[in-house]
């Protein structure tokens, strides 16, 4: 890091300034764009890489299926992970689902599935059925967050609380470059630094907040360097490099578990799909830039890595794709065959001890149309 800190020096009548124009730091990476590992040892076993690749392929299959169902009116507005699969999966595979927590935004499908959130619940949520919000008791996650950045203080408090109670759990929270403009992001990094919360702030810099480019979010050269201002460690990583993301996140998890406190990880990636199914990126996206990033496809890159090791071929790829398609179809079928919610879905779980007035309303609603929405 460049030297930023100085002091007022009256003898020389000079003011030390905190200048933003230092050279940007290259993101940490392990794989070349063609999938060749650098000279170091691989941070993941081959079996772990193949398992991670499966989550990436599963995501692609799910995204395609959900998008096509949305076009047919069978799925709600939905944000795909396209382009960011290595970023999400690399981070998720560094977690131990038994003790670590995920505090998501809404573009982290594979992380939630790996952690144990049922795929049919994920689908139900986007089909507009409140039952989709159901998180099984053994799954350590919070519901998806739509109010961007609001999850970040919650993740910080959760991590702090786990630490206070002597637990070993680590919390990871996901958000984007846009959400990092919210006060919640800054307030949370500040608090996490003070209480040394075992939390990982995983910022996916995918270039866009709907149509607003990354340059309009901050004049800072990187998002990672903002960590310095909060006494927190910041790291910048190539988000399309599965091995690099996994390695960086695993080291942040190990540090947090050992009592070393929080880390801000900026994962530099690119949203090669639309913001969501209601969005039309052709209105704002630079086609050349998009094509440049499409060339850096994270799935192709990790497949090339496996090929370079002689353990991957078209046949295995097809087998994986087909098995993922089966899994997605099964989940979508469960979701489609789940009965529509009744009017009780408006009232159940609002309170642990509901006020009588709401219970009266619940009874009234149930009477109308037999409670069927």
């Amino acid at each position: 890091m460049p030297m930023l800190v100085g002091a007022w020096n009256s003898a020389h009548m000079s003011i030390s300034r905190f200048l933003p124009d230092f050279a940007p730091i290259a993101p940490f990476s392990r794989l070349s764009e063609s999938g060749i590992l650098d000279s170091g040892s691989a941070p993941m076993s081959d079996a772990a890489v193949i398992e991670a690749l499966r989550y990436m392929v599963l995501t692609r299959v799910f995204d395609d299926k959900a998008t096509s169902m949305q076009r047919q009116g069978r799925f709600g507005t939905f944000s795909s992970v396209r382009g960011q699969e290595a970023s999400v999966v690399g981070a998720a595979t560094a977690l131990d689902p038994k003790r670590d927590w995920i505090v998501p935004q809404y573009r982290e499908f594979p992380a939630l599935i790996r952690h144990g959130y049922p795929m049919e619940n994920f689908a139900l949520y986007f089909m507009g059925n409140p039952k989709g919000g159901t998180i099984p008791p053994e799954v350590n996650m919070l519901p998806m967050q739509i109010s961007l950045a609001a999850q970040i203080p919650q993740a910080t408090g959760l991590a702090w609380g786990l630490k206070m109670q002597g637990g070993e759990g680590v919390v990871i929270t996901f958000f984007g470059d846009g959400a990092s403009s919210e006060g919640d992001f800054h307030e949370s990094l500040n608090l996490a630094g003070i209480v040394k919360a075992p939390v990982i702030f995983f910022l996916q810099n995918n270039g866009w907040a709907i149509s607003t480019p990354r340059e309009s979010q901050t004049a800072a050269r990187s998002f990672a360097e903002r960590a310095i201002g909060y006494g927190v460690e910041g790291v910048i990583v190539d988000g399309n490099d599965l091995l690099a993301v996994h390695e960086v996140t695993a080291s942040a998890v190990a540090k947090a578990r050992a009592g070393g406190g929080p880390t801000l990880i900026e994962s530099v990636t690119y949203r090669t799909g639309a913001h969501n199914t209601a969005d039309d990126p052709s209105k704002y996206i630079d086609q050349q830039e998009l094509e440049k990033w499409q060339q850096k496809d994270p799935v192709v890159r990790i497949e090339n890595y496996l090929r370079s090791k002689g353990i991957w071929n078209e046949e295995l790829a097809k087998e994986m794709h087909d098995s993922c398609a089966e899994q997605v179809d099964a989940a979508m079928n469960i979701a489609r065959n789940t009965p529509l919610a009744t009017s009780d879905a408006l009232f159940d779980h609002v309170y642990a001890e509901p006020p009588q007035r709401m219970l009266d309303q619940q009874a009234d609603w149930a009477k109308r149309n037999g409670g069927v929405l």
Binding site: P130, P153, G157, D184, L191, Q356, R357
Partner: protein
Amino acid sequence: MSEKTMIEAIRECLTQEMQEDSRVVVIGEDVGVLGGVFRATDGLQAKFGKDRVVDMPLAEGVIVGSGIGLAISGLRPVIELQFLGFGHQAFHQIGQQVARLRYRSQGRHSLPLVIRSPFGGGVRTPELHSDAFEAFYTHTPGLKVVAPATAYDAKGLLAEAMACDDPVLFLEPLKGYRLTKDEVPDERYRVPLGKLRIAQVGTDVTLIAWSAAVNVAQRAADELAAQGISVEVLDLRSLNPLDIPGIKESVSKTGRVAILHEAPLTGGFGSELVATIQQECFYDLQCPIIRISSPDTPYPLGGVEDLYIPDVDRVVSEVGALARTSA
């Protein structure tokens, strides 16, 4: 049993509940060494340590937001928002997150979390400290809103709020902290949410109030008694849940209703009460319900706040006129 101020009752409650349940933690601005700007948490940090009584950075959003996380981790946080006027800095966390997490997770994550906050005026605070913003929060499904008027209720309702698995906004009257003094048992006890208190029995007019306004209502009722008007003063204690049967019972007896609150008129919680009473008790009413409130203007500087908040004289005059309105 001894006479205690409201602030002493609150402190005693926090101390006893923290002793009883190691999951209770207190977080907020200046709650540690200082014991809070009103001393509600005085001595707690010395007794329970810095991990359980935490001075937070000055950022209401993350104070409330991290409280959500603490609750999910298995703790039972009591958050002190230094003044409700600063609650807007945390409004997104309270309204959209605290109040909804249980519903959004389909019951997986309950939030046993209490947000304590002084509110209301009458003590010459600087700007933006004194607003009675309770209606923002009663319009927030999933959040319970409690507003005690006496020291006895403050202790018992706070204990109940802390035992509750729903999030509770616990509003404490700035003006009542030291002014309110009554008999408070030394031992632990609870006062249930959603049961109003008849602060004074009467037959001619039902005067509904909560928090600091209850004291104003009672003083006005005393003066009106001298004029031969018998006023029943209802102290709502909690706004959500609301004791509708208790209100009906009184209104069916008196047939005349006045609602007193410190908040501005339009959209105040009084509007909700008027609508509820006319629907539930229309045929018991002998005349229109009146609301005695502040005007629809921002809370002013302290030098003129006595012109703003309804005082005893105004209540006497308006309730007196109401009592004399012919059916």
